[in-house]
Symmetry: C2
Amino acid sequence: MSLPLEGFTVLDFGQVYNGPYCGFLLAQAGARVIKVESLIGETLRARGEQTTSSYPFALLNANKESISINIKSPGGQTLIRALAAKVDVVSENFAPGTMAKYGIGAEALTAINPKLVYASSTGYGNAEGPYRDYLGMDITLQAIAGVMSITGEEGGGPLKSAAAFADFIAGTHLYAGIVTALLKRSQTGKGSIVDISMQDCVFPTLATALGTYYLNGEQPARAGNRHPGKALAPYNTYRAADGHIAIICIREGHFRKLCQAMHREDLASDPRFDSFKTRCENMDALDQIINQWTEQHSRQTLLELTQAAGVICAPVNNLQDVLNDPHLAARGTLESLPHPHFGEVKHMHSALRFTGDSPRELAPAPALGSGTSAILSELLNYDEAQIAQLADDEAIGIGPS
Amino acid sequence: MSLPLEGFTVLDFGQVYNGPYCGFLLAQAGARVIKVESLIGETLRARGEQTTSSYPFALLNANKESISINIKSPGGQTLIRALAAKVDVVSENFAPGTMAKYGIGAEALTAINPKLVYASSTGYGNAEGPYRDYLGMDITLQAIAGVMSITGEEGGGPLKSAAAFADFIAGTHLYAGIVTALLKRSQTGKGSIVDISMQDCVFPTLATALGTYYLNGEQPARAGNRHPGKALAPYNTYRAADGHIAIICIREGHFRKLCQAMHREDLASDPRFDSFKTRCENMDALDQIINQWTEQHSRQTLLELTQAAGVICAPVNNLQDVLNDPHLAARGTLESLPHPHFGEVKHMHSALRFTGDSPRELAPAPALGSGTSAILSELLNYDEAQIAQLADDEAIGIGPS
């Protein structure tokens, strides 16, 4: 069966995580994704490393082609306009106004190609507002959007998640907006301009904390791994013999099942723990009792005991655990592929899974400009002399083909 | 201009955040979203509260209709099968196997309606694998997927983000999978089964930490608000006179601009700070110098000074700051609406923004079962006597209409 986005072509100007993750999802769903890079290549190629293909770059740019175009040059801008006439989607996450500054913004390109879906994601979106032109990255979005204020140890300072989720949740919305616009186009024949703000995308993730805020009328104190607002217990990480595990009991039944798994059925009728309310009031005592049980067992044993009893529990896995996770392997999410510098590394398949469809076979991220000549020849009918001239003019870069 | 998903009808069995956020995005994009609830209503209605409409419930269920159906009853199951024949999408995030146990799983419903898109999101997805039947929630996914292991204070224990991002990033993928399947259906005429695993969705957010892992061959130590792997500086939160701000310098130019904003141009040529490498080696000294500057100014002043200089910076906002954020107001993301218990509260519009389209006018979350009679009458032609009989049989609940 064919992949859902076969036949669609995308110009992906994405950088780092947000835009490139969107392009990754598009490529894995079957689209032809042409990664447009400057003459020195996308910044993530070498981020923090002495190599030209960092692991995150390899991960997020699988199955893409690379065309190297200097969008600061008039010749490069002409090429972008010509390519925009031939493709279905342009996606970018530059600083606000970058594409327009070079005459290749949303208005210019959709005027050339009214069927085009032009999609951008920035820190704060393209609509009017005081932050519109502000630069944003994952850490600053976690700050301004409220995430840090509620995250951290009890009594400690505000903390970010080390997972770059503001970038990735925005990239997922960018993909979602593009496909929504393509679906609309299938009915109307017309393209759209999609505008994704990272700040907008992060807001809903505050739901629990905002619920507590409106209930109590004040900012909940940072609560470590406990429930924001401390309105649910057990809800925490606990010490295992070989690390930590997380347990959450959202219904009375979960707590009774946990008591059974601990062989402490007496706790369910203990007046300190016999209701949501009393368990929250005696949270410290309850967590201490649970720790006394968990620290006797390994994470794996605790996982099996709790899941067998119907308790919601999981080990706190480190990165090596995650890369070797038996479920991610069995499900086919992670797959080993050779990397130019690090030997075998784990690549992911798309989290968009369609039952019965085979996922796209993973192909390595492209070398910089390796598709330049072929793409210009195929999509724009440029001949060798024209391509050589553009390269001489430093409008394009021709990589190893 | 019409909204992109007008004309599509969705049965939304979503609970808490993951499924309901997907339904929220569908509704705001113009779909008719029928929220299917048990006779006592979705758990989020009263989560941790003494009310029947928690703030998160109101937030995520705007513009939905509510039908109350007891899917444990044969009469309720018959209704679901009849409704599935009439709609475009069924979306659910129950524990694995719940829908199939009641004879209304993906295979049963897509057999009834081959054009149906049946989409589910669970902790670990529906494909074969050791965790398939495990229960998962946001905190346990942050644990098992590696997020906690890299998040936390230097020298402290593993920590979750208090933002429920595992739930929301999965809900965004669930929406993305559904719209992708609808786009494919527009070409093939056939539905799909969409399978979203929260664990899959969280994996890419580890990108920075995994890059460090492959580069150094070991788990990076938890680094507070610093770069995971400490390969970039300045990159931290800093003390302001009235809280904290976050600053990140990803290019040499950003650091020079920060030095200018601080009136400390000397630092850019100081041998301790004149390259990425030396700045990382002297991170503590550099952070101390920056703190000496930032603690003299308010967050707002620092935001203006840094953004004017082209530095990537943002205040660490608390929840009240976020709810009153001038940009979220100016952009039209947040809007005040009355809430049955909390007075005026801030609702969000969709983060999927299409330039030139007016967002859907927000309508409050429905009362439990308030749409039951009308939906059964309209979609299935049931008459009053049939509906009364189903209510007597406790197959349905009829709320205030």
